[in-house]
């Protein structure tokens, strides 16, 4: 028994098929799609890593900037602050989505805490930023003057400073974040002829947001109650929501205006920007290869249909519809594309698991794989469909007497 196709139509139309052309198409399509999908997944993974590694409640597209403090300013005692013109100029930049001002406390703050018999008291400062700049607000991130409890977000660096720089040398207990969250604070606010004490609690920690932050609502209330006349009218720090913090437009603007960016935001953003540019280039190269592969497929199909034109016309004269005559070629494209898809999906899964293991060992989250695999499936389904449409179109042309 031979293992020829069962249908005589299949046997007829499979002739003149160039295995080399189809193999070239399959190989090129595999290479192109594998590059595109690997670059996509890598970009998504690393982006997700940037996101999970950045501040827990502030998005990585936010930048905190302050004017550079000059030596002259230090000597003269002049305040470095953003004038309304500077803020307006920032807001007018195409890459700036939102600009928010840090509000300084116009009063004195001190906090005390009791560790059993030992107590500790320190002067503090408060700042606030508009609530809408928070991605996720810690529970109870608000202030009610009647209840009088002040939620505070503290930089993680301060906790580290206390634990490793202060507590260990003074014989004080080291504190975890969970413990600190439960430690009651006594906050004393003084100014405008008033001294009042409130309870406070650390509501959260920030690794990128380098301040002691309180809710805007509290700050507005406290400034009106305790604020003194020399309350600075211009903000000294701004928070910016930008399209891409690492892009040259942003970094160039900030550098030319002498603004400093808090934390390592721009470093990671620059890396992220670089990554997005490199990923974009790789995806484009992969896309071009895929496109060329598709062109190879179309040319191979055109050649095949041209070679088999007489047979196809004869089949249609026997009563075969263009769709029926096309079916034999569609099944070829479908089988090749299914094989390409299987190879591409396997390659992307293997490759991504290789780098995801490394990312996960660095305790950063990775993006789910299925959207990337779905993109691969959609791309090949689209190629199959376009190939089929091309065949149908050609056969309909052959059909017309």
């Amino acid at each position: 028994m031979s293992n020829k196709p069962k249908s005589p139509v299949g046997r007829l139309l499979r002739r003149n098929i160039s295995a080399a052309q189809l193999a070239a198409y399959a190989l090129a399509n595999f290479a192109g799609l594998a590059i595109v999908l690997c670059a996509m997944q890598f970009y998504r993974d690393v982006n997700s890593a940037f996101d999970s590694a950045s501040d827990s409640f502030i998005n990585r597209d936010f930048l905190v900037i302050s004017p550079e403090i000059s030596s002259l300013g230090t000597l003269t005692g002049g305040q470095a602050a953003f004038t309304p013109e500077a803020v307006a100029d920032l807001e007018s930049q195409p890459w700036a989505r939102r600009v928010g001002a840090f509000t300084n406390a116009g009063f004195r703050v001190s906090a005390s805490v009791d560790f059993g018999a030992r107590g500790m008291q320190t002067f503090l400062f408060f700042e606030s930023i508009p609530d809408e700049f928070f991605d996720v607000r810690p529970p109870g991130w608000s202030f009610d003057p009647k209840k009088g409890e002040i939620p505070i977000i503290v930089s993680k660096d301060y906790l580290a400073l206390y634990n490793f720089g202060f507590a260990s040398t003074r014989g004080l207990p080291q504190l975890s974040e969970n413990v600190i969250n439960k430690v009651p604070l006594r906050i004393t606010l003084a100014g405008n002829g008033r001294i009042e004490t409130f309870s406070g609690r650390i509501a959260g920690f920030s690794s990128r947001f380098n301040t002691i932050a309180v809710p805007q609502r509290f700050m507005d209330w406290a400034n009106s109650r305790f604020g003194e006349n020399d309350t600075p009218s211009y903000p000294s720090r701004l928070i910016l929501e930008v399209d891409n913090p690492g892009s040259p437009e942003v970094t160039g603007y900030l550098a030319s205006h002498g603004y400093e960016v808090a934390g390592d935001k721009t470093d990671s953003s620059r890396a992220s920007y670089f990554l997005s540019v490199v990923s974009g280039i790789i995806i484009a190269v992969g896309g071009v290869i895929t496109l060329l592969a598709f062109v190879i497929l179309l040319l191979s199909l055109s050649l095949l249909l041209q070679k088999n034109r007489r047979k196809l016309t004869d089949l249609m004269l026997l009563g075969y519809s263009p769709a029926q005559a096309a079916r034999g070629y569609l099944s070829i494209i479908m089988w090749i594309n299914a094989a390409v898809l299987a190879c591409v999906l396997a390659t992307v899964t293997l490759a991504s698991s290789w780098w995801e293991n490394r990312l996960e060992s660095a305790s950063v989250g990775v993006a789910p794989l299925w959207p990337t695999l779905l993109c691969g499936f959609i791309a090949l389904a689209a190629i199959t469909l376009l190939g089929y449409i091309r065949i149908r179109h050609t056969l309909r042309r052959y059909f017309r007497p």
Binding site: L12, S321, R396, P401
Partner: protein
């Protein structure tokens, strides 16, 4: 089902401008009103170059380089969609072209099955029995391209019969056959056509298909 095929002032483009000269002026088909009815047997006799193969191709929708109209039960065939043509070629119109158009790379039986599978009109043993009546059943597994022209004509005839039809158009079906094979072919065609009340339109330049009770038209 098609009851009547009407040729209304039909003229091949190639004869345009020569309407008053032979072969058009002497033709019983060109520039005439001709009705072909289901159940009839028509022999179209003509000399070479008078356009009989063209006429067959026009009726079957394989070519459209003509003036005038061809009507299937009053419908101009220029208005038919590809889907309708497919349906007609499967169930109403059978055609044996002069050049036969067999697939030389397929076996004899595959050439017939490729047509028969569209409607499953006959079983394979029935098709082999038809080949046997035309004395080519021993060639069923041979490649069609390896057969003589006379053998190919008989294979193409069985293929044309392997469907239901109202009209079968046979373009010089026995031009390469001897009288005995001609008679065998004619008997088979008439038997199959009569069984379904179909019309036979056969062309010839000399070796006529030996149809009984046929009307002869000179092209």
């Amino acid at each position: 089902m098609i009851e009547t095929i009407t040729l209304d002032n039909l003229l091949p483009e190639v004869f345009a401008g020569a309407e008053n000269q032979p072969p058009v002026s002497t033709s019983g088909v060109w520039m005439r009103q001709l009705e072909l009815r289901r159940g009839r047997r028509v022999l179209v006799a003509a000399e070479s170059g008078t356009g009989k193969s063209s006429m067959c191709s026009y009726i079957y929708g394989a070519r459209s380089d003509y003036r005038g109209r061809i009507l299937f039960d009053g419908t101009d065939i220029r208005t038919l969609t590809p889907a309708r043509w497919c349906e007609l070629r499967r169930r109403s119109l059978a055609w044996l072209p002069q050049e036969m158009r067999l697939f030389p790379e397929l076996s004899v039986i595959d050439n017939i099955l490729i047509k028969n599978r569209l409607t499953d009109r006959y079983s394979e043993p029935e098709l082999r029995a038809m080949l046997a009546r035309l004395e080519i059943d021993n060639k069923a597994s041979s490649l069609a391209g390896h057969l003589s022209v006379g053998q190919q004509q008989r294979v193409a005839l069985v293929r044309a019969l392997a469907q239901p039809f109202d009209f079968i158009i046979l373009d010089e079906p026995v031009s390469h056959l001897d009288a005995r094979n001609n008679a065998a072919c004619a008997a088979l065609v008439q038997e199959v056509a009569s069984a379904q009340g179909a019309a036979i339109i056969a062309t010839s330049v000399g070796n006529h298909l030996q149809l009984s009770n046929s009307m002869t038209i000179s092209l």
